[in-house]
Point group: C2
Chain length 569, copies 2
């Protein structure tokens, strides 16, 4: 076992060791985690983490040492197999369960993380002749070098009035399948033409597990522009680039609903994992979306926010018919979170990284010293100082657009602001205003969904920022809604395990499995009416500024960016 | 000689030691400086500083140890006499001139710094029975405890449509004679009634030098609401408080033009100073305004900015008739800077103290370490980093209202802002945006004066911030005007000496004396057209925000203050 492997969370169990279990595998940016979960009640019996040998490949290609251009981020797909080889057996050992107890396995993945393969699933980068070609490798979600292609995709879609563009807030991301695929074509056409498949890593690793190619409804919809059963048409593609017209063929495949059985574990994959050959493998999934069943959010009304450096919001709306008309979502996909319901995804491009930016650049030596003396992180220290004041006492309001606005305004050329500064303004007050601004940003998204007919009754927080109780209470007060917490610290892996249980036939569908296996700390934070009343006042100010600077009242933020760009020319 | 006394600036001279000289005494907030200046050419031959024994009395009354309320700031007038006793002889010694060479002496002072006295000039605090009464002492300019009185003064003036209020930007400061006098009446009526005079310290110390009571045109106009030969009427005063109707009698006295001879040095004052009895003493003056002749700014068009924690702008407009209609000045006074011309005063309430606020609270340990290693102040380090970027490269614009807006908007309930922040924004970029915001604030004042008919052809900077060459160049570029520098590091004392020379009859008037004795580094910084063009773009953004947030487009800054105040109740 590699030294990078870690065994964590060996739970004790009140049931017998013979209970049926499933394995959820969560593929993150730098590592993969395997979690062994009991089918009957979702108890997490053991887990293990394997760090990718090649991590995120951003500077040089390991095979050659050649430098990569800026904004590139690749991965080596064999690192994903290594997670199966190492983390899965280690998790079983940690859980103290025998392979015979395992009835299924499922994965979730970062997305859009996508690779070119042959028709048999062989990654192009595993062909000897292409080991030295950067475009042969997996393009990780954070590969941001396809922005010129994304810009053209969006301009052309609006120019042609493509109906699907509205389902994505009017904007296809440079991270997604079409932009990255067009970059491949235009920068390495030989590889583009050699690629018989352009496939999400979540579907590819599932293919590796089963020997059967599948495509899941989540990535097909959110990342692959599959809407109402169709993808962008040939006219559109050839207008982008005449040679791009065959791109659909590289994506096209029957789409499986989430929770479906992709196939049975192959003999080879059984060898990697130590699991019995033939156990059920569920279709692939995405880390954010799979968190919804992990916190029992399988019906309409319960929004899940995965809060870290950025925040991803997913919520189900009613199924059938057309989706609600909600402006500025990242994506609206039929069955994108739970089969049979419209799945809405929204996001805030900067949350934890705004707090980190402030702490990194603007914390004085006195704060550093006090934090060190008290054994606190700067975030903990500033949060504690901020919490000592009542809401509104800082006299500040901020805009949380330091890396743009991903949802509702869908404008990545916006930037942040702080108003109300005086000579008495202290650092923890600015820090608190930044915390608040992200809560206000979430409230704008919640209210946009509600205005479009997607009710939000409860807010479930998951991710690293949930450790900050003051922040969680702030969100409850600002949203005037209970904030529940994910019960599991590894909710995505639990969500993948839930899908595996459904694929294994242990439950009739994902909602039933989530009801039994999902884990939630319900209403961990309740809104306080007095604080909420003050936050309403501040939110009103935020909203006025949001609309003024975000909807054309004053385009100063765009012009500042243009002035800045002008200095570089 | 006290250990606090310092002898500085002993210049060498190319003239003979027998040249006629004058002494200028500059009374600051914490110390007084005496400067010996040659009449013929303004050469500064020597100076000395005496620090006030009691400094600014803000916490406890020295005579009793009793605590003072918040916002109080008193002084002991005998500290002013000590400057005559100590700094003047020391400056003579440093200059190497004999008393017989001195033909005159003049003072300038902080203002409004004001005290209650008997009809013979005895300060009430020097009467044994009043040593324990805080209201018997000098109220220093920064005594801010008369805000409730100032509020009533302003409300009533507007309600009654008093004509004089427009000469003060619609607002009488809590620092000025009427607010402080009304506070005296309402908090210690016995002392109010005992006070036969309510006199600026600059006039009081001149009285001490000469034995003759005088009042100068500058403080009478800017601080004492003397306009067109009249003060606020009895109806107005009695509406404020029936007992305040006799306040005018405590101020009223023939007003002397600046540069006039107040009298001859008394035998007692000759004893204090070591100067010959009977030498000319000029009428009192104010530190900011007296800087104008020190930099030869005695005619229309040359604006002088005294730049420190805040900035005071003084400029002469054409004389005669009515003053130009310029909204939002601190004061417009006939002969307030130079006899015969309308004197315009404007100000920015926060300049250097905004930069200091940022450096104090928001500079990281890395910056502190780098500054220490390179032997720089944080200001120098951040300025250097900022200067390495071209204008506009930070993508930021800030509002310099951290302590409100003193001129044009005349609104002390505004607050500051920074817009355009991104996760890549670095501290020196915010610092530069703050520097720029103060230059933009100055440009708004300059353009308001020009729009009102007061041309501004040149900008002369004095004060501590002139040491920052990057800042000076920035002002030249933003203002699109040459920036000249005061030639003297002790320009106010030089200005006082110039007035003394006029009072002594060495020159026919202040402009003639200033022409010979004033000191200027002309056009030390010239605007660069390319940078100015970028700053024009940023200034346009500043101005849009200035008007939006300062003129009612969005009163968020006021509402934030109200929300903040609400949390204290």
């Amino acid at each position: 076992m590699s030294t990078a492997d870690k065994i964590v969370n060996a739970h004790t169990s009140t049931r017998t060791a013979a209970d049926a279990c499933v394995v959820g595998v969560d593929y993150g940016t730098l590592s993969g985690r395997a979690l062994v979960v009991r089918v009957a009640d979702g108890a997490e019996l053991g887990s293990a983490v394997h760090e990718y040998r090649n991590g995120s490949i951003e500077r040089t290609l390991p095979a050659t040492g050649a430098a990569l251009p800026p904004d590139w981020a690749l991965q080596d797909p064999d690192d994903y197999r290594d997670v199966l080889r190492r983390a899965v057996p280690a998790a079983l050992a940690a859980a103290g369960v025998t392979p015979a107890q395992i009835v299924g396995i499922g994965v979730d993945f970062t997305a859009c993380t996508v690779l070119p393969t042959l028709a048999d699933g062989t990654p192009l980068c595993e062909l000897t002749e292409y080991r030295d070609r950067p475009h042969a490798y997996v393009k990780l979600w954070k590969h941001h070098a396809a922005q010129p292609q994304a810009d053209r995709i969006n301009e052309l879609a609006h120019a042609r009035g493509e109906s699907w563009i509205g389902r994505y807030g009017g904007r296809i991301s440079s991270e997604w399948e079409y932009a990255k695929g067009l970059q491949l074509l235009e920068e390495d056409p030989e590889l583009y033409h050699r690629a018989e498949r352009w496939i999400e890593a979540t579907d590819w690793i599932t293919w590796q597990l089963t020997g059967v190619e599948t495509r899941n409804a989540c990535t097909a919809g959110y990342k692959g522009i599959l809407q109402d059963g169709a993808r962008p048409g040939d006219d559109y593609l050839s207008a982008l680039n005449p040679d791009f017209v065959d791109f659909t063929a590289k994506l096209e495949h029957p789409v499986s609903p989430l929770g479906a059985r992709a196939g049975g574990l192959t003999k080879e994959a059984a060898g990697w994992t130590g699991l019995p050959e033939g156990v059920a493998v569920s279709v692939g999934n995405v880390d954010a979306h799979v968190t919804a069943p992990a916190v029992k959010a399988t019906g309409p009304g319960r929004m899940v926010a995965i809060m870290g450096t950025s925040t991803c919001h997913v919520v189900n709306g009613p199924g059938g018919g057309a989706p609600a008309d909600v402006a500025g979502m990242c994506g609206v996909v039929d069955g994108g979170i739970v089969a049979g319901l419209w799945g809405y995804e929204a996001g805030q491009s900067g949350v934890g990284d705004i707090f980190a930016w402030f702490v990194r650049g603007f914390a004085s030596p006195e704060l550093h010293a006090e934090a060190a003396e008290r054994g606190l992180s700067l975030h903990e220290l500033l949060t504690g100082q901020a919490a000592a004041q009542p809401p509104g006492a800082h006299g500040l309001v901020a805009l949380d657009w330091h890396s743009g606005n991903r949802s509702v305004l869908v404008d990545h050329h916006l930037s942040g602001a702080v108003l109300g500064l005086t000579l008495a303004t202290e650092p923890h007050e600015v820090y608190r205003a930044l915390l608040e601004s992200t809560a206000f940003g979430t409230r704008v998204i919640v209210e946009a969904l509600e205005a479009g007919g997607v009710g939000i009754t409860e807010f479930v927080a998951a991710g690293g920022l949930t450790r900050n109780s003051f922040l969680m209470q702030l969100y409850a007060d600002v949203l005037r809604r209970p904030v529940s917490l994910a019960g599991s610290a590894q909710a995505p892996a639990l969500g993948a395990a839930i899908h595996a249980a459904v694929a294994a036939g242990a439950y009739p569908d994902v909602p039933a499995a989530a009801g039994a296996m999902g884990s939630l700390v319900p209403e961990a934070f309740l809104p306080d009416p007095a604080r909420a009343a003050v936050y309403d006042l501040l939110f009103a100010e935020y909203l006025t500024l949001h609309d003024h600077f975000g909807r054309g009242g004053n385009d100063v933020l765009h012009r500042l960016r243009e002035i800045k760009a002008g200095t570089r020319r």
